[in-house]
């Protein structure tokens, strides 16, 4: 089976509200043009297309069909969609190339979170019998998880603020970030509680955005770019949807996905942690020590486009290899409440 590499990545500016429609076309058209430029491929060269988005987020039926306008799907294309973060669409595209069905694929994700009330829309990800009918919002659920760790002595509010401070500082070098700046942890801790024990800096912002990643078989990739980011491992796992039956301070699915993907020796990790304490859970489960650079992009605390942010983590991790800055990087994506589903990909330079 051929190995697969990432050869292109583009993402839209992370913003609080785009003027465009919820079908993402306006965000995607310029990203596709960038991806073609990066790879030298044209629309006709892409053999498989796969996207991730959500109709609940868009507030309309079949929003992903409307998004296909951005491609210009004529003659007809080979296309698929996941109602999840596009990192899972990336997984599907990886499988297609591994199986030898296609040589090239383009994956995109988009989300206009500003159209609805995001933390309420996300309640529909919960068990529909006994949990969703209470409309617990996504921030409250994360707050229950954060307190469980505080009570267990696994982290302090200061630890959480330090994650936020580092993320904001790193985002200063990321022109697409929604928030950035040099703010000390002590200063952040002076702000009021939003959902006790979470403060504003602990919570990823509401973000509109989109991301595009181009994949190719390793052999094809070598013809197209100088340093393809070869996927040496990719796995995803899921934990119980029953919040009260889980130890919320742990993420066994992340640990299992990481072990299966083979993460030893990574230099950089882009972690999809929409809440500060979740980064600490992920680092522990993946066994990432101080030697691993975490979220040089600033991570999703500085811009979290729903259904595109996980794919953007893969793109950011690949970018470090494509631009020659690193040899082995890790990307993580999450979906569902309180880190329920987790995907880990490891990318490397081979030469």
């Amino acid at each position: 089976m051929p190995d697969v590499a990432v050869i292109g990545f583009a993402q839209a500016p992370n913003v609080r509200e785009t003027p465009g429609t919820t079908n993402g076309v306006e965000m995607l058209v310029p990203l596709l043009a960038t991806a073609y430029r990066q790879t030298g491929l044209s629309k006709q060269d892409i053999e498989f297309w796969c996207s991730g988005s959500s109709d609940y987020l868009a507030g309309r039926a079949f929003s992903f069909i409307a998004a296909v306008d951005a491609i210009g799907a004529f003659p007809p294309i080979h296309e698929s969609h996941v109602e999840m973060d596009a990192a899972w669409a990336f997984y599907e595209a990886w499988l297609k190339i591994r199986m030898g069905e296609v040589d090239t694929a383009l994956v995109y994700g988009f989300g206009k979170s500003s159209a609805g009330q995001l933390r309420r829309v996300l309640a529909l990800q919960l068990d529909p019998y006994f949990t969703a009918p209470l409309w617990p919002d996504s921030i409250s659920i994360a707050a229950l998880q954060a307190r469980a760790g505080l009570d267990a002595g696994l982290w302090s509010e200061k630890d959480l603020a330090e994650v936020a401070a580092r993320s904001l500082a790193d985002a200063a070098d990321n022109p697409l970030a929604q928030f950035s700046g040099a703010t000390g942890a002590a200063e952040l801790l002076d702000s009021p509680m939003v959902a006790d024990p979470l403060r504003r800096h602990d919570i990823a912002p509401v973000t509109d955005g989109a991301a595009v990643v181009v994949l190719a078989s390793e052999e094809r990739a070598r013809d197209l770019v100088e340093r393809p980011a070869v996927i040496s491992g990719i796995e995803h796992r899921v934990d119980s949807p029953v919040l009260g039956a889980r130890d919320l301070t742990r993420s066994p699915s992340t640990a299992a996905a990481g072990a299966a993907a083979g993460i030893d020796g990574v230099e950089v990790a882009e972690l999809h942690a929409p809440f500060t304490h979740q980064e600490l859970i992920l680092r522990r489960e993946l066994g990432l020590g101080d030697g691993v650079r975490i979220n040089p992009s600033g991570g999703v605390l500085t811009g979290n486009p729903m259904f595109a942010a996980g794919l953007a983590r893969i793109g950011e991790a690949a970018k470090r290899i494509l631009d020659g800055g690193a040899r082995r990087t890790l990307a993580h994506a999450t979906s569902g409440p309180a880190l329920q589903q987790n995907l880990v990909a490891v990318l490397e330079r081979r030469d």
């Binding site: 306008d69 309420r120 209470l134 659920i141 707050a143 119980s240």
Partner: protein, 318 residues
């Protein structure tokens, strides 16, 4: 835009036992393969996937395992006054359930505190039969539930609850794209504005963010007349909820002269039986003072009396 739907779900034997218990002010969990008691019950063991059948009644008091404060409750939540969310492990259960705790402020909450069920005034067989929890020890008076009981599915007298209904209401703000905005503003002035794809030269009305054939923005603006042809049509004979015109009437795809995509509109001004494919039509505009940024400024299309367009001229638009 407000979107609403009552989600109707059948509960089956395991979840059904739980909701019927709630209606009778009783809480039952299910014993897992490892002996743990799951409350609310799960149909299959999370570790072994074995079907679970041994029900265990648990207490209506329990212990808070984690909590957070909801200072500004959102639509649909158990209480409309500020409250705490908590994971509550009921006495006799080994898992926690998520629910609301009614206390005046976060200073009244702590992990490990004891709480008790406050039943809804009317219990119907739904998770909302638990209105909220209250501290076992409290000096605060109970101000009572703030939400009505959920809707109930019809069933035979005496039958157990087999279906739960959960209304879902979400609000969205849909924005028009820049292309659509120009089109809508032109409509307010009585004009039809389309856009031409720079690659395939097709004219889209309404304009789109990207040509669906070529994937490029359609930037070249084209002012179009208010005449065109009927490509295909449908005679509506069936009355339905929300219908604004008395049947029979005709809805048709109208292809405006110079445009390459048809839109759906109403045909009046002739007998429904006389409407034909290829028939020439003209827009009938509402009075100018009623114009807004909407295609509804055109009340309907009506025949011009000109000769029909030959089939070959519009066959590729069908």
């Amino acid at each position: 835009m407000n979107i609403g739907f009552d989600y109707t779900r059948s509960v089956g034997p395991v979840l059904g036992r739980f909701v019927n218990g709630l209606a009778a002010h009783r809480i039952e969990g299910v014993r897992g393969s490892d002996g743990r008691v799951h409350v609310p019950p799960v149909e299959y063991d999370p570790l072994t996937a074995e079907a679970l059948t041994e029900f265990v009644e648990v207490g209506t008091e329990g212990t808070v395992k984690s909590w957070t404060w909801m200072a500004e409750p959102l639509d649909g939540q158990p209480l409309s006054r500020p409250f705490a969310w908590a994971l509550i492990q009921l006495d006799g259960a080994d898992t926690a359930m998520l629910h609301a705790v009614d206390v005046p402020g976060p200073e009244h909450m702590s992990t490990g505190m004891r709480v008790a069920v406050r039943w809804a005034d009317e219990t119907v067989g739904h998770i909302r039969d638990i209105a909220y929890f209250r501290p076992v020890r409290t000096d605060t008076a109970d101000a009572g539930p703030t939400a009505d009981p959920p809707p109930v599915a019809e069933r035979e007298e005496g039958d157990p609850v087999g279906v739960v209904i959960t209304p879902v209401h979400l609000k969205y703000r849909h924005s028009a794209s820049p292309e659509e905005s120009r089109y809508l503003r032109a409509l307010a002035k009585g004009k039809l504005i389309g856009q031409r794809c720079p690659v395939c030269h097709k004219v889209y009305l309404p304009p789109r963010g990207a040509c669906p054939t070529d994937g490029v923005p359609t930037t070249d603006e084209v002012e179009l007349p208010d005449t065109g042809i009927i490509t295909t049509f449908c005679v509506v004979n069936v009355p339905f909820l929300g219908q604004r015109i008395k049947p029979p009437y005709v809805t048709a795809y109208v292809l405006i002269d110079g445009a390459d995509i048809a839109f759906l509109h109403l045909i009046l001004g002739c007998d429904a039986a006389d409407v034909r494919m290829g028939m020439r039509v003209r827009a009938s505009w509402r009075p100018r003072e009623e114009w807004t940024t909407s295609l509804e400024n055109i009340a309907h299309f009506e025949p011009t009396g000109e000769p029909d367009a030959p089939y070959e001229s519009f066959a590729h638009h069908l």
